[in-house]
Amino acid sequence: MNWVTAVPLQAYLTLSAALFAIGLLGVLVRRNAIAVLLGVELMLNAANINFVAFWRYGSSANMEGQVFAVIVMTLAAAEAAIALAIILNVYRRFKTVNVDQINLMKG
């Protein structure tokens, strides 16, 4: 696969910014904690698109961009496992996973 790329870098960055904004919207407006987690996953994917695009359009002899993307994916897996465990625990205690009903610490 030794093609010359014909898509400008701005296209990837714009796509990634749009995906990040959609994920941010999901984090801000959803009530279900699992849906909030889905928004976080969208934002992490936007960051990964940026990493790989900058790897490709920068000096692609260095592999930092892809290494970063691999580590982001690893941490996304860890974060999903921890967050879902916490959500399960919250559900057991409050019988809900709606983030606006879990307000025990609200003064």
Partner: protein, 178 residues
């Protein structure tokens, strides 16, 4: 003439923008569906086409190994994990429950503000032009980078994954019956 067209097609000036647009639609429309579907099971399932399209973008950028990892970890791991969590909390997605909290308009405003700022930053900057062809053996060099130059970060991330796994088991464990 057909041969010339085919050669131009293979050269990438036509099929690359086309596949980019298709993949971008495949990323953004399912992402919107993830945010706006009321049923949480549907939202989690809409994440799948979005993640697969991101893997397609990785292939388009010449990072095939990352595309494979993306499919394996995200589609095979995280989405299944999220579906399990949905199953263990809500049973089935109840359509009567409000999907959005009371800050829907403020949230829209915030996301739009981010999009405007990011768009301004994107247009204000002069980005590098199109690069040369993909260097050979990207996957092999990724393996080299992970296991030689960045082996510390790699090992630390794997330890974090192990700690997170044990921690998730401890946190999610059912409380012992008194």
């Amino acid at each position: 003439m057909i041969a010339a067209l085919w050669k131009e097609f293979l050269a990438g000036t036509f099929w690359q923008p086309l596949s980019f647009v298709l993949l971008a639609l495949g990323v953004l429309l399912p992402a919107l569906a993830v945010v706006f579907s009321r049923n949480i099971v549907h939202a989690a399932l809409w994440l799948l086409p979005c993640l697969v399209s991101v893997a397609g973008l990785f292939v388009l950028l010449g990072a095939e190994a990352l595309a494979g990892i993306q499919i394996l970890i995200y589609c095979g791991g995280i989405v299944v994990l999220i579906l399990f969590a949905v199953m263990l909390t809500y049973g089935v997605g109840d359509p009567d429950i409000r999907a959005f909290n009371r800050q829907l308009w403020w949230g829209l405003l915030g996301a739009a503000a981010f999009a405007v700022v990011a768009g301004f930053a994107l247009t204000a900057q002069l980005w590098p032009g199109p690069p040369g062809p993909v260097p050979p053996d990207v996957t092999g060099r990724l393996a080299d980078a992970l296991l030689k130059q960045y082996v510390l970060a790699f090992e630390v991330s794997s330890v974090i994954l192990l700690v997170a796994m044990v921690g998730a088991l401890v946190v999610a464990r059912a409380e012992p019956k008194e």
